[in-house]
């Protein structure tokens, strides 16, 4: 089974893919399911890495397969099969999903319904100006080897660069009549370097510590201008070895936009996942400090805090036309003027919570169960500029680019390390600081947000996170986070071992 690779237009999903998905759904229903859906997913991935002026790895993967969900009573079953050979394989997989659901009923949960969605028959494709798989490998290799050679020549110990691209076509069919074709292309790249000193290593990255990604084509990589930043990060990486360490204190903290994106991801995005709030992830990913009885009234942060769930953002990594339950992409508020007002939900979790909306369920390929995931969870731009924030700060630290992250299983107590920091004294950016870190408690931290940039061009950006882990078996999600530099008061920085 395959999905045609036709350029332009809609999703170009072959009728045969829909036929396989339909056969699987029919078989699941025939075996006793009261609801079923199926996705036939055809995905290509390319990854190239370079190190110290040489291409180190080039990997291309192709996966095609069928994933089927079946609901029996209040119990789910999911079965997946790689490369189904035809109608018989599809039907066998559908029936197996129902059999698994029937086994689930041995330890049943409470009665469950699904939030309604329109039975859409649609076709959707992300915008892609330059197909990343059509760009010659030699050109990609020249880019990555060039920037790593530049960084090495500037004196760093290790220089690495990476590009990745995904091309995913999905045929989705549900027993309620949905039939959706979707074609999403994702592209990204980044680079970093390491310096080694006496008992320490320092790292600098561009444009983000894992690179920058979006539902776009190779034009995203061209806009990053990796060559234009290689010398700078190599120089900063070496300067860090002799920079003073970030002092331990409670002070004013200014964060760059890339670090803000991870702060949002970890302390807001995961906290508003409804499956966590309901306890479905209690044993692994964790729960949430948020209590559904306080939805609409709980103060999450300051008035400057406006968080949206928006899978419609053009080009952002968490964008799509329809989620993996067939719910159309819709923007909604998660936090408005500091008050918690929305969650990331699926059809079952929303119904159980008494909410009327879903739309945030996604799966990592055909072989994994669709589950509640972040889409684009971002902070709206604020009324200030970074320049104004620095000018308004008498004593603080500016930190940029994530180096480490850790947060508890309720998404409250976090500690982040950054690659680089600077003193801010009397309204000016001062000397460089190494090993900057900060720690805090989510709602207290967000309530201390007192200045937020985004007014100046380029300050607000939809950052892409290509490696959000969740689920058992493990799934890797692609999420987006609009963010701009921000200032927080009274934050503990310089955490020591």
């Amino acid at each position: 089974m395959s999905i045609a690779n036709e350029p332009g237009g809609g999703s170009a999903v072959e009728p045969a893919a829909f036929e396989a998905a339909t056969a699987a759904v029919e078989a699941a229903l025939a075996a006793g399911a009261r609801y079923a859906d199926a996705r036939l997913v055809d995905r290509r991935h390319e990854s190239m890495t370079a190190r110290d002026g040489d291409v180190r790895s080039l990997s291309q993967t192709a996966s095609v397969g069928l994933g089927v969900r079946a609901l029996v009573g209040s119990s789910w079953g999911f079965a997946a099969l790689g490369d189904p050979a035809g109608d018989a394989d599809a039907r066998r997989t559908g029936a197996r999903a129902t059999a698994i659901a029937q086994a689930s009923a041995a330890v049943p949960g409470p009665p469950m319904e699904l939030v309604g969605v329109p039975a859409v028959q649609a076709d959707w494709a992300s915008e892609c100006l330059e197909d990343p798989f059509a760009v010659p490998l030699a050109e990609k290799g020249d880019l990555l080897t060039g920037v790593t050679a530049t960084m090495r020549a500037a004196g760093v110990a290790v220089a690495e660069a990476l590009h990745q691209a995904w091309d995913t076509r999905t045929a989705f069919v549900s027993s309620e009549g949905a039939r959706i074709g979707q074609h999403i292309r994702e592209t990204g790249a980044g680079m970093h370097c390491l310096t080694v000193g006496d008992g320490e290593t320092q790292r600098r990255s561009y444009p983000a510590f894992r690179g920058q990604y979006g539902t776009r084509g190779w034009e995203l990589v061209r806009e990053l201008d990796l060559p234009g930043h290689a010398d700078r990060i190599a120089a900063e990486c070496q300067e860090l070895l002799t920079a003073p360490p970030c002092p331990s204190s409670e002070t004013t903290l200014l964060l760059g936009g890339e670090q803000m994106s991870l702060q949002i991801h970890e302390s807001v995005g995961h906290a508003i996942e409804l499956d966590r709030i309901l306890g479905w992830e209690a044993a692994f990913a964790g729960t949430s400090w948020l209590d559904l009885t306080q939805l609409g009234s709980l103060r999450f942060g300051s008035e400057l805090m406006n968080i949206t769930i928006d899978p419609t953002l053009p080009g952002a990594l968490g964008s799509f036309g329809y989620d993996d339950e067939g719910t159309p992409a819709t923007a909604r508020d998660a936090v408005r003027n500091g008050i918690w007002v929305g969650v990331l939900a699926g059809r079952d979790s929303a119904a159980l919570a008494g909410l009327g909306y879903a739309g945030s369920v996604r799966a990592d390929g055909y072989a994994r169960l669709p589950m509640v995931r972040m889409t684009n969870v971002g902070l709206e731009p604020g009324p200030h500029t970074l320049e104004e924030m620095i000018a308004a700060t008498d004593d603080g630290v500016l930190m940029e680019h994530n180096r480490s992250w850790s947060i508890d299983d309720r998404r409250l107590n976090f500690q982040f390390g950054c690659e680089i920091g600077w003193e801010v004294r009397n309204g000016r950016k001062g000397r460089m600081l190494k090993n900057p870190s900060y720690t805090g408690i989510g709602p207290r931290f967000w309530s201390s947000l007192d200045m937020l940039a985004g007014r100046a061009p380029g300050e607000w950006r939809a950052w892409g996170t290509p490696n959000c882990g969740k689920g058992q078996p493990g799934q890797v999600g692609h999420t987006g986070h609009g963010a701009a530099p921000a200032r927080f008061s009274g934050v503990r920085v310089g955490v020591r071992s």
Partner: protein, 457 residues
């Protein structure tokens, strides 16, 4: 379900077809390694004492690494396995390899070497049904005595044929089973988990009972102030400590990059610490993705680091023999031990170790641990699923969640460690092919663990 009897010929045919296609398209000078894998993974999750997610997938995957002109290499993988797909896979990989610059440090293919085994798959585990897994869940839930329970039961099987143009032809298979869950009571969680190659080895009821006892002992937790505390780490927490060290310190790429702070040959650790990677006792395959046979790799002997984990590239860079730790991600993340085992010591049971604490903490589990400083192996993370204050050798109170920032290397320094006597295999993610690795560890008592925050921040 994978069966060694059935999968061998099927995967043989597939690997042979790929090599034939390589010779046809790329000529006889091309160097290629093919792995044909058949995998099944079935996992039953439960929360609020009910099964809420229940999945199974099966697939055949072909991995191809192809090198032309003595150093132009590309890798590819596909779940498509029919004749036309094999030709497409080779054509795409060959095109990619030809476009790549020549890599002067390409280590070449390995020499054929005998395997010590073909793996130890368990037929019953490979054939486990959704009902078998549901029975495990039901046993865990029932044993919690009415507490809210959450977790999973997993069974997995993997069969692999590796063949290359140098004449190697290897077959291996493995299975694994995990029961892992928590019991919850009034904001307190208790955990118990275990992993084996055989589902029959797992006693889900005993695990549920243990988790429930922990939860009951964790109710009404109180905060403690940050500072350095002597600690007893239970096996789940020790798995994280060992996992952090094998991924960041004994990893050959970390040594090449200079991010490892290991001092080979020095008495860097307490004499009680003896650590090895032991695939024969674990759930790994008998060879790595480059075809190098896996064998017991000694990493620390009586507190002295003596070994590293390497693939062919890092071994060449370090002038060592490859240790059989190549993986699909080792080019990026480095070669990492897959079945680490910390040898039991003389410290006795967890209760015995606690009995030796004048004032300190008993820690069940660690969570969200991340590297802060690579060379010193400084990690930050949190306690999870229970921590208790110990005074005069007795547990006196449950403690709320704590953040630590601690050098894992320094935690095991000479004079700082007592190792328990009872090994309790834990599931832990170390880039293994089936999602989880088996980390065989006892509990340990450490002289100091740096608590840097509590629930208050």
């Amino acid at each position: 379900m994978p069966s060694p009897d059935l999968d061998g010929p099927l995967l043989d045919d597939l690997a042979g077809a790929v090599l034939d296609e390589v010779r046809r398209q790329a000529g006889t000078d091309a160097a290629a390694t093919v792995r044909a894998e058949r995998s099944t993974l079935a996992l039953t999750r439960f929360a609020d004492s009910a099964i809420h997610q229940n999945v199974a997938d099966e697939q055949v995957t072909v991995h191809l690494q192809l090198t032309v002109d003595g150093g132009r290499t590309a890798t590819a993988a596909t779940t498509r396995s029919r004749t036309e797909a094999v030709a497409d896979l080779v054509a795409a990989t060959l095109a990619a390899a030809r476009l790549r610059p020549r890599d002067p440090s390409w280590p070449g293919l390995g020499e054929p070497a005998p395997l010590t085994s073909a793996g130890s798959p368990d037929e019953a585990t490979a054939a486990a049904s959704p009902a078998d897994r549901a029975a495990g869940v039901a046993a865990f839930v029932a044993a919690t005595g009415g507490l809210s329970a959450a977790g999973f039961v997993q069974t997995a099987a993997l069969s692999t044929v590796l063949a290359d143009t140098a004449g190697r032809h290897l077959y291996g298979a493995t299975t694994s089973a995990i029961c892992d869950g928590i019991a919850r009571l009034s904001g307190a969680d208790g955990v118990a988990r275990s992993m084996s190659a055989r589902l029959a080895d797992l006693d889900c009821a005993a695990l549920g009972a243990r988790a429930a006892a922990k939860a009951r002992a964790g109710v009404d937790a109180v905060p403690v102030e940050p500072g350095a505390y002597p600690v007893v780490l239970e096996p789940a927490a020790v798995a994280d400590l060992v996992g952090g060290l094998v991924s960041g310190q004994f990893n050959g790429k970390a040594v090449v990059d200079g991010t490892s702070g290991l001092r080979l040959g020095d008495q860097q650790f307490d004499q009680a610490v003896t650590l090895a990677d032991d695939p024969s006792a674990g759930v790994g395959l008998p060879f790595d993705t480059e075809g190098t046979p896996t064998a017991r790799t000694e990493l620390v002997r009586d507190g002295v680091p003596v070994g590293l984990t390497t693939d062919r590239r890092t071994a060449a860079a370090l002038d060592r023999t490859p240790s059989g730790h190549a993986s699909d991600v080792s080019a990026t993340w480095g070669p990492v031990a897959g079945d680490p085992a910390l040898s039991p010591g003389s410290g006795g049971s967890v209760a015995d170790l606690v009995g030796g604490l004048e004032r300190g903490l008993l820690v069940s589990d660690l969570w969200y641990t991340r590297v802060v400083e690579a060379r010193r192996s400084v990690w930050t993370g949190l306690t999870r699923n229970g921590v208790w204050l110990v005074e005069d050798g007795q547990v006196v109170a449950p403690v709320s969640t704590l953040r630590f920032t601690q050098s894992y290397l320094e935690a095991l320094a000479p004079g700082a460690v007592v190792v328990g006597s009872e090994v309790d295999p834990q599931p832990y993610r170390l880039m293994g092919p089936m999602g989880y690795n088996r980390v065989a560890v006892p509990a340990v008592r450490l002289a100091a663990w740096n608590i840097t925050g509590n629930a208050a921040g």
